[in-house]
Amino acid sequence: MTVSITPQVHRSKFGVYQVVQTILGVLFSIYLLWRIYDVFFGHPSYGPDTWARFAISGIILGSVYALIAIGYTLVYGILFMINFAHGEIMMIGAFGGYFVFEALKNIPAPTALEPNLNFLNAHPIISVFFAFVIGMALAALSGYFLEQIAYRPLRGAPRLVPLISAVGASIFLQNAGQLLFGSQRRDYTNPVILSRGAGWNIKIGAGIVTVPYTGILTLVLTLIILVSLYLLVQKSRMGRAMRAVAENKTSASLMGIDVDGIISRTFLLSGALAGAAGVMWGIHLGLVYYFVGFIPGIKAFTAAVLGGIGNLPGAMLGGLFLGLVESLGPGIMGIDFQLKDVIAFTILVLVLIFRPTGILGEVLSEDKV
C-alpha cells in the first residue's frame, strides 16, 4: 500500500519544472565532461603521477566510506530510519583497535635476534586480527545497545521521532567518548611492517607514487567483508529472515520470524561493519579521538543516498564514487581543495535529479512505504 502525504494529483509527465531541471542537469553534465576532457587532454594541470596519487587516496577513502555506508543501508533497509549515531559507533570501534595495539605494544616478546621486540611487531598479523576482532565486537555491542535504548522504545512512533533520537544518541556518544577517553587526539601505533606512509613505490610519469600498505590492507579487507556480507544476506537463513522483515514486518512475524531478534542482529551486524571501518581508519590515517566518526559518518550517509539507500552494492558504489569525487573533483574543476564537498554534493543533487532513488535505485519493494 502506498501512503502519500500529498493528494494524488495527476501531473503531466513533462511539467515546466522537470524540463528546466533536466536542461540544467544536462548542461552541467556537459560542462563537467568538457572539464574532464580539458584537464586530461587539453590543458593538463597535473602530471599523471599526481592523478595517480589522487586516485589512490580516493579509492582507499572511498572503500572506508563504503563500509560505513553499508551500515546505514542495512538499518534503513530493515527499519526505514537513518541511524545518525552510526559514525559514533565507528569511533568506538576505532578506539577498540587503538587500545588493543597499545596493550600489545607493552607485551614483550623477545627473540634471540631482537631482545627489545614487543608482541605487536613479533606477531603483526595476529595483532591486527585482534584489533579488528575487539574493535568490531565493541562497536557491534554499542550498536546493539543503541538500538535497545534509543530506537526500540520508539518503534511505533512517527518517522521523525527516531531520527531525532538518533541525532541525540550521536551527540551523547561523542560526549561520552570525550569523557571516557579525553579530548586529546591520539595516534595509532601500527606494527612496523604496516607503517603509515610505507608502501610500494611505483614510477608513474615524472614521479614515484607510493601505494601505502595500509591502504592495500583496507581495500582487501573491505572487499572480503563486503563479499561475505552479500553472501550472508543472499544465501543464509538469517539473511533470508532479514530480507523478509525488510519486505513486510507483519507478514514476516506471521511466518514465525522473530522480528525484534532480526532487528537486533541487524544492528549488531551494522555495528561490526562500522567497527571494522573504525579500525581501518585508525590503521590507515592514524588519527583517533572522540569526534573522529562525525565527518566519515556524514560522508558515508551521503554515499548511501548516492548509491541508493537500502541497496548493498549501491552503498559500495556510492562510497567509492564519493571518495573518488572528493579527491579528483577539485583537480578536475580547477578549484580549491577546500571546496571538495561542494563538488560531491553537487553531484549528489545531479544524481538525485535523474535518479531520485540513487544510482542503483532501491531494490526493496515499494510496499514498505
Binding site: S57, R196, I298, V349, T357
Partner: protein, 428 residues
C-alpha cells in the same frame, strides 16, 4: 512521493550537519566555575603591598566606579575559552596555566584571587554570552582571555562598555587591537608580526624562494597565512599555491599531492597543531619528500613532536617561549606536579596563559585599596590604565610592555626546528 520528501529532508539534515561541522562543533554550554586552588602554597608577593592607608570609609572617585570585594569574597579573574568540544584542550590547558599564576599570586590584604573559566566554545556567539555573564558579576575585575580571536572580537565591545580590562594569552588576529579598544591587551605577538618574521626568516635565513601556503580558514590561520603570503611576495619570493583546508579532517593527501606537483621548497601552514600533525604525517607519502614544513605558533608544542615522530624531523615552528629560565623551569615543574601533564602538551599557550593572569594580578595589586570598612576597592578605570601601562614586567615569555594599542609582547617570536624529537632554537 513520500520517498522524495524523505530525500529532501535527509539532504537538508546533511547540509545542516555539515554547516555545524564547518563551524565550531562545540556547544556553548556553561562549564562549572573552576575553583582557585587554595591548598597550593602561596608564594609571597613581590609587589608592593596595596595602599592600605585609606580613611575609614573609602570614597570611590574612579571615573567608572569601583569593584567592591566584601570580606570572604574572592577577586575574580574571568576567562572564556572552549572547555568542551573539538578545541577543549586549548581552554583546559590555558585555564590550568592561569590557575598556577593565581595560586602563585598569593593573597592581597587577605583577599584571595580566583580564576573563573567559562565555556565560550571558541565562537563569536559563545564569546558574547560569556562576556555578558562576566559583566553582570560585580566581583569580576579583569579578563584573562578570551582564547580564540573570533570569540574575543565579539567580547571586546561588551567589556569595553563595562570597563573590564582584558589580557589575552592567545588571540592573535591583528584586527583586534586596530579597533582602538581601551580594554583589550594581549601578551601574545600578533599574526602580522609573526607572519612578517616568518616570511623574512624563510627568505633570508633558510634562503628559499618558492613556498606553498596552506591555512585552515580560521580567523587566526587565514590572517596569518595571508600576511606571510604578502610579505614573502614583497621580499621577492614566489608563492606557488595559497589554499585552504577543511579543519578537523583526517586525510589531506589529495591537496598535498596537488602541491607536490608544484615542488615547493617550504610548506607554510597557518593553523593549529591538530591539522599540522595530519599534514606532516601525510606529506611524504603524497610526494612532498624534500619540502620543509614551517608551522606557526599554533603548531608549537610537545604534541607536534610526539605525534609526528620521525615524519616531523626538520620541521620548523614558531613560539613565544624563550630558552629555559629559572622562572620557566619552576613553572614547568609546578604545572607537571599539578596536572600530571607537561606544559605545552595540550596547547602551545601554557606560558602566555600564565603571563596573562600574572600581569592582570600585578595590575590589580597596584591599584586596589583596602577601605576602612574591610571591603577591598578596585577602581576600574585605574585598573584599565594600569594594565595598559604595564612596563618591563618580567614574564615567562620575556619582557612584557604594553604599547598604546595594547600589544604587550616586546620579544619577537623564536623559531624552532624539530631535531631528533626535540624543539631546538633554530639558527638566527
Amino acid at each position: 512521493m513520500f520517498k522524495r520528501l524523505l530525500f529532501v529532508t535527509s539532504l537538508l539534515v546533511v547540509a545542516s550537519m555539515l554547516l555545524a561541522a564547518c563551524g565550531s562543533a562545540a556547544t556553548p554550554t556553561t562549564a562549572p566555575a573552576v575553583e582557585a586552588p587554595t591548598s597550593a602554597p602561596a608564594v609571597a608577593a613581590t609587589e608592593a603591598p596595596a595602599q592600605a592607608t585609606a580613611p575609614a570609609a573609602y570614597e570611590c572617585k574612579d571615573a567608572i566606579g569601583c569593584a567592591v570585594i566584601k570580606p570572604g569574597e574572592t577577586i575574580k579573574i574571568g576567562m572564556g575559552a572552549p572547555m568542551t568540544g573539538d578545541n577543549a584542550q586549548f581552554g583546559v590547558d590555558i585555564s590550568q596555566g592561569q590557575k598556577i599564576a593565581v595560586s602563585d599570586a598569593g593573597d592581597l590584604n587577605g583577599f584571595k584571587f580566583e580564576l573563573v573559566a567559562e565555556d565560550d566554545g571558541g565562537t563569536a556567539e559563545g564569546g558574547a554570552a560569556v562576556a555578558n555573564k562576566f559583566v553582570s558579576d560585580p566581583t569580576v575585575v579583569a579578563i584573562a582571555g578570551h582564547i580564540f580571536s573570533g570569540a574575543t572580537g565579539a567580547a571586546i565591545p561588551i567589556y569595553e562598555k563595562a570597563g573590564l580590562p582584558m589580557m589575552s594569552p592567545s588571540a592573535t588576529n591583528p584586527a583586534l587591537t586596530a579597533s582602538g579598544s581601551k580594554v583589550f591587551n594581549r601578551v601574545v605577538f600578533t599574526d602580522a608580526a609573526q607572519g612578517k618574521f616568518a616570511a623574512t626568516y624563510m627568505f633570508n635565513t633558510l634562503k628559499v624562494t618558492k613556498i606553498a601556503v596552506l591555512h585552515d580558514g580560521s580567523t587566526y590561520g587565514q590572517g596569518l597565512a595571508q600576511v606571510t603570503n604578502d610579505e614573502f611576495t614583497k621580499l621577492g619570493g614566489e608563492v606557488l599555491a595559497f589554499q585552504a583546508i577543511t579543519p578537523g579532517e583526517s586525510d589531506y593527501s589529495s591537496i598535498l599531492a596537488s602541491l607536490a606537483s608544484k615542488n615547493p621548497e617550504v610548506l607554510y601552514f597557518g593553523g593549529y597543531v591538530a591539522e599540522a600533525v595530519v599534514l606532516v604525517n601525510q606529506m611524504k607519502a603524497a610526494g612532498l619528500t624534500n619540502t620543509i614544513f614551517f608551522g606557526d605558533d599554533g603548531t608549537y608544542g610537545q604534541d607536534f613532536l610526539d605525534r609526528t615522530a620521525a615524519n616531523g624531523e626538520g620541521s620548523y615552528s614558531t613560539s613565544l617561549i624563550p630558552a629555559s629560565t629559572p622562572a620557566k623551569d619552576k613553572f614547568d615543574a609546578a604545572y607537571l606536579a599539578a596536572y600530571q601533564t607537561p606544559p605545552g602538551k595540550l596547547s602551545p599557550y601554557t606560558w602566555t596563559a600564565y603571563d596573562s593572569a600574572a600581569v592582570l594580578i600585578a595590575a590589580v595589586k597596584s591599584v586596589a585599596v583596602l577601605g576602612g570598612d574591610g571591603n577591598l576597592y578596585i577602581p576600574r578605570q585605574a585598573l584599565i590604565d594600569a594594565v595598559r601601562g604595564t612596563k618591563d614586567y618580567q614574564g615567562l615569555s620575556g619582557l612584557i610592555s604594553c604599547d598604546a594599542v595594547g600589544e604587550c609582547s616586546s620579544s619577537g617570536p623564536t623559531f624552532y626546528v624539530d631535531k631528533g624529537g626535540k624543539w631546538e632554537a633554530a639558527a638566527k
